[in-house]
Symmetry: C2
Subunit: 173 residues, 2 copies
Amino acid sequence: MALDSAAATDKYTAQRYTARVALRDHTMRYLHTMIRASDLDATLDFFCAKLGLVEVNRYDSEQGRFTLVFLAAPDDVDHANSTKSPLLEITYNWDAENYDGGRNFGHLAYCVDNIYDVCQRLMNSGVTINRPPRDGHMAFVRSPDGISIELLQDGESLPPQEPWISMENTGSW
Amino acid sequence: MALDSAAATDKYTAQRYTARVALRDHTMRYLHTMIRASDLDATLDFFCAKLGLVEVNRYDSEQGRFTLVFLAAPDDVDHANSTKSPLLEITYNWDAENYDGGRNFGHLAYCVDNIYDVCQRLMNSGVTINRPPRDGHMAFVRSPDGISIELLQDGESLPPQEPWISMENTGSW
């Protein structure tokens, strides 16, 4: 005798839930941080072409008049199960909006292999390095809509070197 | 003949970098999203006691008069290498500040095993469910400083059920 589909879903869900609860009280996993973009092209140019993230998924809603683009850092995409990569979700509303910033959100942080190379590439493409990596360890830049991005050198700091040592801060981050 | 330590660091860094560049142009990995908290106790009560994240690291700076607390979702902590868990960084400045929100930041999203159980626990502890999980799939709540949190049901949506079906939205998220 076939179960109807609602009952089957109930049973499946109940079995799955019971099995997991046996392991611990409840489970929870980070999925993404969502930011809004007033200009999708400029935002993807910043996060992908300049910073180095990669697009892993995209969804257009004609009815809702918005586009969602999901980005991942290269090392996160390489995970065996890429559906578990921590993602950056970009929401682009088709009807023009400008987005202000607030102080309750601070920044997104990414670890990089060579902070000097990444900052040089960003600078060459016209991005202001708000907090240059004078210490070979940490830098800050901002996205076109003012989202603050922290870059941290993987492992030990690089030896301090020019032009970074002499470069002053610009604005806030 | 011993190398001096700066030269040794240079050599080590150069070797490590060359080895990684051979693999791809550059590597990058997501570390954390940072948010600011005006009341650390209330914020940790929300994110840990009520939502279910766990504290994995903490740093107090007497000189800078701030505390950093790093939180992870339970399933993310279980990774073999917990230093690679995607984290939420809470910055608490000891000198009182109030934090406003902006529209360029949207929300943080977590996947949960049973969205009804999580929302019920949050509601029982006094948290407003701004967007109830009427569809068995998605809910939104806000932290004490107004950071929007999206909760998504892992896998297939749960069958719609009361009290969620009849529960209206509250405020924005």
